[in-house]
Every structure is written in structure tokens, then in C-alpha cells.
């Protein structure tokens, strides 16, 4: 039983023409001490899923459970104490901190009990910031440092799971590297489970233990990181990996994917990816494939794959590790 589990979660909102499913049935499990990456491009619903996972957005259907308890949506009432150990770090380090309060007092929000000042200092040191920084204001820090303050704040609640919504997006390469290292140490040394949502596949590949790939509101593949990269089972995963430009100096252009992401309000019939899929065949436009388990602790939602069997190698050349 993982620390955080989502089963067939659906999140709908009121769009222009009616209800739109930002998340159309997604399942993810985050065990303690493991880093689970959730990747996908704009419009796939990963941010919405992240918010639903912690209760910021109500789920229309499906179950979300944290340490065995149902995660209820956050309303006017104070968040139940049992859920406080499930935390979230936002994407934008410039809007996730109150500009009018010192960073120390904001981190202290999550500290219960008397030794607040000491605990805040410990937290700052844990994330690699000087303890003296606690008395300063957010605008005195760089983006990378602010994200570390945000982590410190999440850590103040002694979390067992932290959901991070694109935490690296606004950071430069060096800050990303530092932050990625911090995440790894949180999982390995403190045993915190991390759900890392990102569009940066290279960093996710380096940091995550397991990866889920999301497209248009659905999880299309789940696997451990290394097998996913060397042998993706879903055509979208393959396309995503092939589209990442490599900084190896070889001058090889990344593979592009034809077409555009469809409007979530009117997804394609059958498999949502079929209009853009190079391998689409007879059943694809007709019937939507379910996310079914494959051998080797993997799962994929694709008609090319046999449930329970070893994943079939997709035949596109140029997919190298």
C-alpha cells in the first residue's frame, strides 16, 4: 500500500461549451522514499492531477487516499491534521511566497510546537540556505533559492509525500541541478515520497525511480525509468523521448510529432492519441485501450501491447538511450 494512491481520478471543470475533463481517469501510486515522475505536455492535465492529489481541486470521480485515509477537498474548513503530511510545492517561485512576509515566518507556518525558530533554522540548512536568511523577504532571493524555501516550508510539516508541480520550470540549469540533487537526498535520506511533475524529461530521467506518461487527461504508460527510456511501450512515450534534443554536439535534430494536442473538451474517438500515432491501426480509432499491466512491473494503454506480456518493441529507428 503506497503512501499516496490515486485510482481512476476524474477532474472536470466548467468550460465554454460544457463540462471539460482535464483528467479523464488517471491512477498513480507514490510509495514512501520513491520518486515518481509524471511527464506530459501542455494540456495533458498533470498540473490538475497534482492539485487534485492534495485536495486543492475536488475530484469529480475516483479515489485519492493518503496513508489509508481519503483525501478530502480543501474547502473553507481547516485541513484535517491527518492530511498535513501530504504537501505540495508550486511551479512559480515568484507567486508561491507572500511578498510581505519574511521567508522564515512562512516556513514556520508548518511548524507545530514551541521550538519554532530552531526548527526553521534546521529546515533552512536542510535545503542548503543560510539560517540567517530566515529574516529576509522573498524578493531578496533568486528563483532557485525561492524554490528551496518552498521545499523547506513543505518539509516543516514533516511530510511523508510531497507533490511537486513543475518545480524546475523557472530555474536555470545550475539551479535545476542543485534542486534535483536536493530532491534525491530528500527521498533517499528522509524517506519522503515525491511525485515530480515535469515536462523536462532529462531531469525526470535522472531523478525519478518510476515514470508515468500522461496524454490528454489519461495515463498512457507506467514503468521504471530505465526500461521506459530504452524500450518505451507506448507510441507517445516514444515520441516524447525522441523529441528531446541531446546536448552531445552531434547535430542530430530531435524527432517531431505531427499534429497538435486536441482540445480536451472534444477528445478523439477511441485511443486519444490515434490521430497522431505513426502505428495506428484498425482498433485504434474505434475503441479506447485501457491501461493494462505488462510484464516487468509496467503498464501501457495501447492496442499494440498484449496485457501481461513482455512489451513489444516499437519499431521506430533512432530511439536510443
Amino acid at each position: 500500500m503506497s503512501a499516496l494512491e490515486l485510482h481512476d481520478v476524474v477532474v472536470e471543470y466548467e468550460g465554454r461549451g460544457g463540462r471539460v475533463r482535464a483528467v479523464a481517469g488517471a491512477s498513480i501510486a507514490v510509495p514512501a522514499g520513491r520518486i515518481v515522475g509524471l511527464v506530459g505536455e501542455s494540456g495533458c492535465g498533470k498540473s490538475t492531477l497534482a492539485r487534485a492529489a492534495v485536495g486543492l481541486v475536488p475530484a469529480t470521480a475516483g479515489t485519492i487516499s493518503f496513508e489509508g485515509r481519503t483525501v478530502t477537498p480543501l474547502k473553507r474548513r481547516t485541513r484535517p491534521a491527518e492530511l498535513v503530511r501530504l504537501q505540495l510545492v508550486f511551479q512559480n517561485p515568484y507567486s508561491s511566497l507572500n511578498p510581505r512576509r519574511t521567508v522564515g515566518s512562512q516556513v514556520g507556518d508548518g511548524v507545530r510546537g514551541v521550538a519554532r525558530k530552531a526548527r526553521v533554522q534546521t529546515l533552512f540548512e536542510l535545503v542548503g540556505l543560510p539560517a540567517a536568511a530566515a529574516s529576509r523577504y522573498p524578493h531578496e532571493f533568486s528563483g532557485g533559492q525561492r524554490q528551496r524555501v518552498a521545499i523547506a516550508r513543505a518539509l516543516a510539516a514533516d511530510p511523508s509525500v510531497i507533490v511537486l508541480d513543475e518545480p524546475l520550470a523557472s530555474l536555470d540549469a545550475s539551479a535545476q541541478a542543485q534542486f534535483a540533487n536536493l530532491l534525491t537526498s530528500l527521498a533517499r535520506e528522509l524517506g519522503v515520497g515525491l511525485l515530480l511533475i515535469s515536462h523536462d524529461l532529462a531531469i525526470v530521467r535522472h531523478v525519478a525511480d518510476d515514470v508515468s506518461v500522461m496524454y490528454l487527461g489519461r495515463i498512457v504508460e507506467v514503468a521504471e525509468t530505465q526500461p521506459l527510456w530504452t524500450n518505451p511501450a507506448h507510441p507517445y512515450s516514444e515520441a516524447l523521448i525522441a523529441a528531446v534534443p541531446r546536448p552531445d554536439g552531434e547535430g542530430v535534430l530531435p524527432e517531431s510529432l505531427p499534429g497538435e494536442v486536441p482540445d480536451p473538451a472534444s477528445p478523439p474517438s477511441g485511443c486519444r492519441f490515434h490521430p497522431r500515432c505513426p502505428y495506428a491501426f484498425e482498433p485504434c480509432p474505434r475503441e479506447e485501450p485501457l491501461l493494462l499491466p505488462l510484464a516487468g512491473n509496467r503498464a501501457a494503454a495501447c492496442w499494440l501491447q498484449e496485457p501481461g506480456a513482455t512489451p513489444v518493441q516499437l519499431s521506430r529507428p533512432g530511439v536510443v538511450s
Binding site: 505536455e41 536555470d172 541541478a177 554536439g249 494536442v261 538511450s321
Partner: protein, 322 residues
């Protein structure tokens, strides 16, 4: 015969506290049909140096040095002449596809107006050219696209439109400032392939500015690394990215996750932060963060000099086997 030749470019910007040097002596050359890549973190002066070429800096900025484009000197060119030049022979594409197109004019209108303004052709010819351009950048259904507005297109499509407008008058040089940073990775791949095809089909040179070394690696022929307003290393893409010689270049590459690297090995972050303009350390700007700095680095600014297969601004050159 170079398309653009920049020498000793120095830009000072006015600030309430006094003038600040943002670009401090930059040299480079762009050849025909070449993709010239410029890499650097924010604050390195890479964007400002381009704005200087196009005369897009604030009024009281001072620009020194030379930038010869097609035999004409861009620095100090009167604004009116420069405006005629840019958009016609010299074009620029910006990072944000959401604000670089006019929201109230149809796509067709923006394209044709641009063509008619610079080339003076009649409406029919302009429309033909507009359709041709939309086809070049692979916008689906160009006929109806002419009548649509920018907000009806996705980010990636808008960037293609911006490129179409930039190419309308068949420029010799296209400056692309972080053209794919705001886009998804599959969309980015499409734009990079588009740029590659266009530069071959139209004999177009491209200056590609980005902080993403992967993007540079896939598209650029030559790579120039900017740091604190100066060029620290410049040379053929393969040499610079596979065998970096400047400590900053190497550090940038080391900070990236490598597919082959062991998972548990931490990423190597560069200690410290890039200096803010106006607070550049004396001598080599990188020396406070450099593991190989020697005495000379603290006081003497290294000049960008020829060093075998590339140009390098470093006193130490620590990675070369003797």
C-alpha cells in the same frame, strides 16, 4: 564573405544608479546559411547584444563597436534606415509567441501588410506571398488561416506565424531569441526542424540564442558561449560541446543530466551565481566560480583569441592535453 561581422561590441544601459555595461566587448562572425548559436544564462548579455544591432535599446544607451551587415555599418545607423533594413534583410523572432503578434489583426493582414510595406507590391501579389509563406512554415489550411486571428492558434503555431512574418521579405539573417523556450518539447522539435529546413531552402543565416544546450547542439553549426557580457568560447558545435575548453562551458555541460551517468550520482551544479551587470569581478568574470583560476585570472581580462579549432578567452585552458 560573412553575412554579419561584429567587432568590439560594447553596450552600456542607463540606470538610476549610473550607466551599466551589459555587453563588454563581443566579437563574432556569421557566415551565409550558417546557424550561429549563442548560449548563456540570463544576464549574460546575449539578448541585449542583439537588440543593439537592431536599434531596439532605450534612448540613452550607448553602443560602441562595429557590426557590419551586408557591407553596411549597423551601429550608429539612423533609426529610419535601420527600420527599413530590419524586417527586410534582417529579421527577429522572439521568445513569447503570445505577445509578439498583433492580437487585433488577422494573420493575413499582418503578413500582407509587412510584405507591402517593405516590398511595395500590390495586394494580390502580397496575398500570394502570404499563402506561400504559410505553406513554408507548414501551417495547415493556409487559406482559412489568413482570416484567423493569433489567439486562435496554439503557441507552436504562433511561433510559426512569427517566423513566417520574419521571412516575408526574404531576409539574409534571422535572429531567433529563445524561440522555443516557451514551447512543449515535441512542438519545439517541429520548430527546430522548420528552422533547419528554411535555412537550407532560403540560404538564410540564423542567430539562435538560447540557454538550452540541447537545442544548440541539434541545430547550430557554430556555438558561442556568453558569460557576463563577454564571449568566453566560440567554435564549431561539435568541438565546443564534445571537447569544451573553457571551464564555464564545461561546467554548463556537466550540470546537465547525462543519459549515461549513473542515476545516484548527483548533478554537478556550478557554485555561486552569475554576476549582475555592473558588479562584474575584475579580471576574468568567471574566476570566483572557477576551479582552475590562477593569479592572472583575478586581474587581467582574458581576450578572446584563436586557439586551434576555436576561439577561447581563458588564461589557463586547463583541459587540453599538452
Amino acid at each position: 564573405m560573412s553575412v554579419l561581422s561584429v567587432e568590439g561590441l560594447r553596450v552600456r544601459l542607463p540606470t538610476p544608479g549610473g550607466d551599466v555595461t551589459v555587453v563588454d566587448g563581443v566579437d563574432y562572425e556569421v557566415r551565409p546559411s550558417e546557424v550561429f548559436g549563442i548560449a548563456g544564462e540570463s544576464g549574460s548579455g546575449k539578448t541585449v547584444s542583439m537588440l543593439a544591432l537592431l536599434g531596439l535599446l532605450p534612448e540613452r544607451s550607448s553602443v560602441e563597436g562595429s557590426a557590419r551587415f551586408g557591407g553596411r555599418e549597423l551601429i550608429g545607423m539612423p533609426r529610419r534606415t535601420l527600420r527599413q533594413l530590419s524586417g527586410r534583410d534582417l529579421a527577429m523572432v522572439f521568445q513569447d509567441p503570445y505577445t509578439s503578434l498583433h492580437p487585433m489583426l488577422s494573420v493575413g493582414r499582418q503578413l500582407t501588410e509587412h510584405v507591402r510595406l517593405h516590398l511595395g507590391v500590390d495586394r494580390q501579389a502580397a496575398k500570394r506571398r502570404a499563402l506561400e509563406l504559410l505553406g513554408d512554415v507548414r501551417i495547415p489550411d493556409p487559406q482559412s488561416a489568413l482570416h484567423r486571428f493569433p489567439h486562435q492558434f496554439s503557441g507552436g503555431m504562433r511561433q510559426r506565424l512569427a517566423i513566417a512574418i520574419a521571412l516575408a521579405c526574404r531576409p539574409r539573417l534571422l535572429i531567433a531569441d529563445e524561440p522555443t523556450t516557451a514551447l512543449d518539447v515535441t512542438v519545439q522539435a517541429g520548430i527546430l526542424r522548420l528552422l533547419d529546413r528554411l535555412r537550407h531552402e532560403h540560404e538564410l543565416s540564423v542567430i539562435l540564442i538560447t540557454h538550452d544546450l540541447g537545442v544548440l547542439s541539434s541545430l547550430a553549426d557554430t556555438v558561442s558561449i556568453f558569460y557576463a557580457g563577454r564571449v568566453v568560447e566560440s567554435g564549431p558545435r561539435e568541438e565546443v560541446l564534445q571537447r569544451p575548453r573553457h571551464p564555464y562551458t564545461k561546467a554548463l555541460l556537466d550540470a546537465l543530466p547525462h543519459p549515461e551517468a549513473a542515476k545516484e550520482k548527483p548533478l554537478v551544479a556550478i557554485g555561486g551565481v552569475p554576476p549582475a551587470p555592473g558588479r562584474i569581478p575584475p579580471g576574468c568574470a568567471f574566476h570566483p566560480r572557477c576551479a582552475y583560476a590562477v593569479e592572472q585570472c583575478l586581474s587581467v581580462v582574458p581576450r578572446l583569441a584563436a586557439a586551434g579549432d576555436r576561439r577561447l578567452a581563458c588564461h589557463v585552458d586547463p583541459f587540453v592535453e599538452p
